[in-house]
Amino acid sequence: MREPRASTDACHELSSRDGASTFRCPAASKALGRGLREALAAWILAGPSVFFLLMLYCLPVIGVFVIAFTNWQFGAATLSFVGLANFREVIADEDFRSSLRNTAIYLLIVVPGTVSLGLLIALLIEGGKSCRSFYRAIHFLPFMATMSAMAIAWEALLHPTIGLVNQTLSAIGMPAANWLRDEHTVLLALAAIGIWQNLGFAMVLFLAGLKSIPKDIYDAADVDGADLWLDRLRTVTLPMLGPVSMFVVIVVALRVFASFDTVKVLTQGGPGHASEMLLYTLYRESFEYLRAGYGAAIAVVFLAIVVTLTLVQAHLMDRKVHYQ
């Protein structure tokens, strides 16, 4: 029984390496049939996914690019290709520029704030044994709370007269502000909400990073004399968290970059255009002003930024593997 089996296997190997040689083995057709059956089963199983991936991801992404090169408006019967006109308009548009600038400022406040606070809290939680899951749960709460509803609570907190923030500030003799209606403070207020929301997420990622540091390294540091809190942090914890930190920065940036709910619910981009951000501009141009071509051009810009960030992240992930 052994002999023919072995030869079948050999044929199988041959046929997979070199299709032309299959006919030489009598058993090869059977093996080929098995392969075909498996492929057929695979395509049947994957069929719905393939269909929907093409319909809901591939087609639309091509669509965005196509629309971005036309002057189409929703409801219009005609459209014509206008080349890069939309992009030129986008770049020249003062509103878009301010939207991009606001997004950048927002990002530059929220990402460092979120990452550093998340790291601090993760270090503190991991630094002791008691109440770990309690603290973790509290700090993680905002990340999964429905933002459009919490935005309403934040609006009440930031209310110029009855809000807790201004009441507290005036109680300690600090100047109050109309946070969401003042163009100088509105981004700051939104950024504070952004940090509040994403802090727990960064914390959880850092906690995972801290857990993955081998205990042996801390022991070695203990024996080597790096046993004070700051020395341990500097010789072991922070360097070992290095790759994780870069990763957290990108992931948080991607999330923060796609902030929409707070802008929509709280400010609608106002006052003026002081809190316009990229995703909100995309939404407004596309679905309120119905300028499809223009909106699509913004979507392309948005996509370009997201893809860049993701590629940087993928690159960093590769480096991280290198580290160990």
């Binding site: 498996e38 492929a39 695979a42 395509w43 199983l45 994957a46 719905p48 996914s49 393939v50 929907f52 991936l53 093409l54 809901l56 991801y57 591939c58 087609l59 639309p60 669509g63 965005v64 601090l120 503190l124 939680i125 630094g127 002791g128 044994k129 008691s130 109440c131 749960a137 509290i138 709460l141 999964m144 709370a145 429905t146 459009s148 509803a149 919490m150 309403i152 609570a153 009440a156 009855i162 807790l164 509040w196 727990g200 959880v204 801390y218 203990d222 992931v251 796609a258 929409f260 929509k264 619910v265 995309l282 939404y283 679905f287 499809a292 979507a299 948005f302 996509l303 997201v306 993701t310």
Partner: protein, 283 residues
Amino acid sequence: MSTRALRACQLLSPAAVFRHTVLLATGALILVPFVWMVSLSIKPPGEIFRTSFSFWPVQFYGVENYTKAVTQAPLPRYLGNGVMICALILALQMLVCAPCAYALAKLRFAGRDTLFGLVLIGLLLPHQVLSLPLFILGYQIGILNTYAALVFPYVVSPFGIFLFRQFFKSMPDDVVHAARLDGLSETAIVWKIMVPTALPAVIAFAIFSIVSHWNDLFWPLIAVHDQSLMPPTLGIMVFKSEEAGTDYGPLMAAATLVVLPLIVAFLAAQRWFIEGLAEGAIK
């Protein structure tokens, strides 16, 4: 217990005091919006606009506010819509993604790498970028402003396929071979062997899916305009603009009711939520 832990465990050591002080302070700050929301939701209008603050109202007005929230706006309807949409999306995603993930993980076929590439591209694309063509697609097939409009963009989840594929791949091939010898069809292998074994991944994915769609505002805003179809995120926004921000009590009661289901679920299954959401958001 290590000496380190021993040192840290002395509850009154300066390090431990510092740790608890800072964490309690940041924790309290984090909770302020929640506390404020609940506090306002049980206060009568007069107390809300009073400038002195206390958490508990002098006159308990919770019943009135919450009654108003569920009667004045179709809040129960919103919540029901939310539950239905999330359940529908999750069911469809499981149905579509699990077989595909199995094929990618365990079957050999021409085009597998291309298909996986497709999944990775899907993973990379933010949904907001696709909203415009999806809107047009919904218009073309005439389903805008229906439940179907809220569900269809999410029928396939590249993340779901990716996550399940990773999990299925880690299961030994012999399990599949044994199942085939026992006479199970490929479909049966997916649903009777792979998915039950991958329960942790299924739970993580379910939590990720439910939380992200319960909290999503962007797509519902585009897809529906009938109040009767709105999910809670959109509904509460409409409620707010109708109330024009004057009647805070019922508004806060409504907000509390929208946030509550996930918070309760989170507190009940903290570990699962954190794993599911962290995994999901990283991708």
